[in-house]
Amino acid sequence: MIVAVASGKGGTGKTSVAVNLAISVGNVQLLDCDVEEPNAHLLLNPKIYRKEPVCNLIPKVDRELCNACGECTKFCQFNAIFIASDKLLIFPELCHSCGGCALVCPTKAITWEKQRIGTLNFGSADDVSLVYGELDVSKPLSVPLIKAVKNQINKSGNVILDSPPGTSCPFVETASDSDFCLLVTEPTPFGLHDLKIAVDVLRRVAVPMGVVVNRAGIGDRKVYDYCEKEGIEILLEIPYERRIAEFYSKGVPFSLEMPEWAEKFQILYSKIKEILKE
């Protein structure tokens, strides 16, 4: 079973929920797909036993074969190839690796080369194995790295995905192949507004979902009203407690220090299983 933990708004507690869930359930694979700002390892404190570079493919021009005809420039929808004074220029940061330029090139002057975009890290802490991607600073394209993280999914086991914030491509890439998506929100106007957008996306990709209300007690009741109206089940509430915030700040998963919460996360996991059976 693959469960994605996501939220529209950043900082609602996705990583905290993902890590506490993983530790409480045990024997799971945790994949941190927030490759721009990965944080799960800071809470889990795993031993990292392997790192490998991740590359995407970008076009490479054989200047002998290229006659600067401009077919590739015309074809490229992402403005990643230009011709300046009869020379082909490639902008790797704009390239989506679609392969079109090589297809249309009449002189077969374009081949592919690898460009490093980030690192995959493999580690484990007790019976939780962690994979996280780390985008190189100043590289704009996170989706190929998220795909590389997702390629590590062990489909026969239990998998938890920590999703990046937002509701655009990185979120869609993470959530779209999951069996279930847990949306973590907070009971504030910002939390509600961004939850609605995330719900919209999940309905479009037809992924079943449930909500975790974090920092319950702050803000207002509108998140609860919305979930009731839309028929989205609130599967867990985590109250705003200074102790929980302090544990998080130190990089300690609170369910380790407050064992009653380990049980609550186990119950949350069973609820998800039941929902998926129905």
Partner: protein, 288 residues
């Protein structure tokens, strides 16, 4: 004209709440909400929309069923898994690259313009605002950020405003890079948590890469004073000025629930005082 960006790396550290206060203090600036896939600034600044424009930055493939022979070549060549087993276009995955259109032997596929969101030009109580909404699941957030920043520049020039304040998005990828190119300074709002520190370091590296002058604000500093001290000494080492240290206070959420900025909701609070003093430092630096 000067441009200031508010960033954080990590989400939920208080970017938008602080940006909205700066709008009030600057009195007559152009605000830009660059968190286009989860914009929140409008809930505090209540823009009156003057102009709404469809955002079209990419294309989408469309298959003409009457011409399609179901050969499956398009599905085989698509790098984005955007054509499913039934040989239908999966809109959310299609990047509009045109490979399928090119290779289709029966010319059954064409590319059509894709509306990915909307951009708005609005009036707020404290100046003007350029903002947008990316439709759920759409890509091209970086291009939309570039567009609304361009709109803001045009607005500022026309209305003779000398400051643009940019509310950034979390992360360090495409939309964040698009939010900081060419700005005069960036204020990074962080929190004294392990994640906050980790993400602060990465966002500072990014600012350094793009030659943007960084300032730092530590929000909710009292949640972990040890970590606050770590951030302070880290910034001292790197010669980065920490211009504000803000305690945790429930009035931040209360102001948000009431749809107000902290400065409007609770002008005499400690937090409002600290935000005013940050604003003074930034406005002196920018000369506005």
């Amino acid at each position: 004209m000067k441009q200031l960006a508010i960033l954080s790396g990590k989400g939920g550290t208080g970017k938008t709440s602080i940006t909205a206060c700066f709008a009030v203090l600057a009195k007559d600036a152009v605000l830009v909400d660059c968190d286009v896939d989860a914009p929140d600034l409008h809930m505090l600044l209540h823009p009156e929309v003057n102009k709404e424009t469809e955002f079209i930055a990419s294309k989408i493939a469309i298959i003409d069923e009457t011409k399609c022979t179901k050969c499956g070549l398009c599905r085989e060549k698509c790098k984005f898994d955007a054509i499913n087993e039934k040989l239908e276009i999966v809109a959310i995955a299609c990047e509009g690259c045109g490979v399928c259109e090119f290779i289709c032997p029966t010319k059954a596929i064409t590319l059509a313009p894709r509306v990915s969101g909307k951009s708005y030009v609005s009036k707020i109580k404290y100046g003007l605002m350029s903002h947008a909404l990316l439709f759920p699941g759409e890509s091209n957030s970086g291009k939309l950020v570039t567009l609304i920043r361009q709109n803001a520049k045009v607005l500022a020039e026309k209305a003779k405003k000398d400051l643009i304040i940019i509310d950034g998005s979390p992360g360090i990828g495409c939309p964040v890079i698009a939010s900081i190119t060419g700005v005069d300074a960036a204020l990074v709002i962080t929190e004294p948590t392990m994640s906050g520190i980790h993400d602060l370091e990465r966002v500072l590296k990014l600012l350094d890469h793009f030659n943007v002058v960084p300032f730092v604000c530590i929000n909710m500093y009292d949640v972990n004073v040890n970590n606050t001290n770590r951030i302070l000494s880290y910034c001292r080492e790197k010669s980065i000025e920490v211009i504000g240290v803000i305690p945790f206070d429930p009035i931040v959420t209360q102001a948000m629930v009431n749809g107000k900025t902290i400065i409007e909701y609770s002008p005499d609070s400690t937090i409002s005082g600290e935000i005013r003093s940050m604003w003074t430092k930034i406005s002196i630096f920018l000369g506005v």
